[in-house]
Structure formats: C-alpha cells, structure tokens
Subunit: 142 residues, 2 copies
Amino acid sequence: MRARRRRSDCPVHFGLEVFGDQWSLLILRDLMFKGRTTYSEFLRAEEGIATNVLADRLVRLEQDGIVTSERDERTGRSVRYRLTAKGVDLLPVLLDIIAWSATYDAHTAAEPEFVERLRSDRPGLEAAIRRDLAQSSSIESS
Amino acid sequence: MRARRRRSDCPVHFGLEVFGDQWSLLILRDLMFKGRTTYSEFLRAEEGIATNVLADRLVRLEQDGIVTSERDERTGRSVRYRLTAKGVDLLPVLLDIIAWSATYDAHTAAEPEFVERLRSDRPGLEAAIRRDLAQSSSIESS
DNA sequence: GCGCGTAACTTGCTATTAGCAAGTTGAGGA
DNA sequence: TCCTCAACTTGCTAATAGCAAGTTACGCGC
C-alpha cells in the first residue's frame, strides 16, 4: 500500500494525503453521484480501475475515515461501502471540480441541468445531495 | 513525463487528469497563497518536491493552460510563473480543501483567522484573493 | 571580457506504485 | 454437494517518484 508520510501540516497537503491520487475521488464520485456502493460496482466504472488498486484505495479510505464497509444484510454476499460524515463533507470539493471542468472541458459529459443548478442554486443542490446520501444509507440499514 | 490518457469524459476525471497527483495543487497553493512564483521558490516549499518532478509538473501545468512562464524582466535571471484565469478558477477547490482539512486535521497549520473568514465570508475572501492575484501579476509586467 | 555565483533545469540510478492477468476464498443457491 | 459470483490476493512488468549529481546560461563584480 502506498506509504504516506506527512510532509507538512499544510491543510492542502493534508487533503492530498487522503485523496491526492487518480482514483480516490472517482470512488467518492461513484458513492456520491452514481449510487455505486460495492467493489464490483466500482470496478465497472468507465475509467477501468485495476483490481489491486481498487482494493488498496478502499482500505485506505476506510482507514482515513472517509468510508465504512459492512456486509450487506439482505444478500449476505456483497460488501457495501458507505460514506461517513467526513466523506460526505468532501462534496464541495467534488462540486467545484465538476463546475471547473464544465467550464474548461469542451467535451465534458457533465449534465447541463446539473451544471445549471450548480451555478444557480449551489446551496440547494448540495443540500439535496446530502439528503439523498443520508436517506439511502438509512434505507439500507432498516 | 507522466502519460495521461483520457479514460472518460466525466468532469471529475477531467480535473484529476490536470491536478490529480501529490504535487500540482501544492504548486498552485504556493502561487495562490504564498506568493511563490519561481522554480527555486517552489523547491523551497516545506514538503520537499524533487527537482525532476517539479520540472515535470511545471511543464504539464503550462501545457494544460494553468500557468504561464516568462523570464523576469528586471532581474533577467529567473523565470516567473503566473496563474492563468483557468488556474485562478481552481481557487474554490483549494479553499474547500483547506476548509475540510481545518475541520478534520487536529494538527492543521491553517491560520485560524483565515479559516474563520473562510466560514463567515467566503465570497469576500475569494474576491480578495482574486484581486491580490490580479494585482501582483499586473505589477510584475509594468 | 572573464571568472563566480546562482537559477533553472537534466541525467542516471534505485525504490515505489500502477496496471494487467490469473488465482484464491468464502458465502448462497440449485 | 457442487456451482456461481463477489471480493479480494498474487505475480509480474511498466511507469513514476525520489535522490544526488551534473549541466547550461545569465548577470554581476572586477
């Protein structure tokens, strides 16, 4: 597993220790926006993460308190990953990245309605996504 | 230089292609908040970036339109890097990361007054930083 | 105009990490 | 009891990071 040494107490560096790589934020994207919650669902993402890298990142994200994992009660077969409050609080970062890419990437796949709402009603959009995330996790556990 | 293949048109992935590594956002931090603008100033940053990695990232950030470089008019000896509009527009991402780390890192070096203003008057803080960045670049070129 | 110092890199080598394919484990269902 | 499938692990190769040393080139003092 990638060794991370704390090189400074700079808050930017602290964040990069947790998600400063190519894959961690894509896993968070899947959890926040795509409703993907299992290992095999993450594997199916269009970017094609390698199996060992995915396993490594999931362990790491759990160690860092960004996600939790538990065996699915109903099916018993799959492990379900869920965002913690610390993980959900990275939502603003993801939204800013999406807004930036929507501006500067001519071929972006960002949905126009989503981007429009992001620009016109960011607080409402953020609150709605947080509600969705809170609800889906309570449904699973009931 | 690190090869980047576009694996998808997802806006999150687009952003990660540009700054999804340990060092790019630290260089942007230096440019945005610390007034560092030259190769040797970036090298002096507390995290200790390797010389070849720094050279690689500066080339890449310039290729991606995040920074521009030009020889300093007055001293003639140093190359001065500056943020483009596209680069400055990553300011929200940096501010969110700082806010998140200030919340979750018990040993953060983030300045309390800065964090306080970030929480109480984010638009004003962002506008002030943008003004500073615009001004410093116009001073250099006059 | 000629060393000297310094800024900005480049190069060579080793250590780490990513990527890919194949193998393993363990629970559930027929 | 076997089959399937989810969730990993392992082995190997390619790419990237890290470190130390070397190179180039400009400006300044003499």
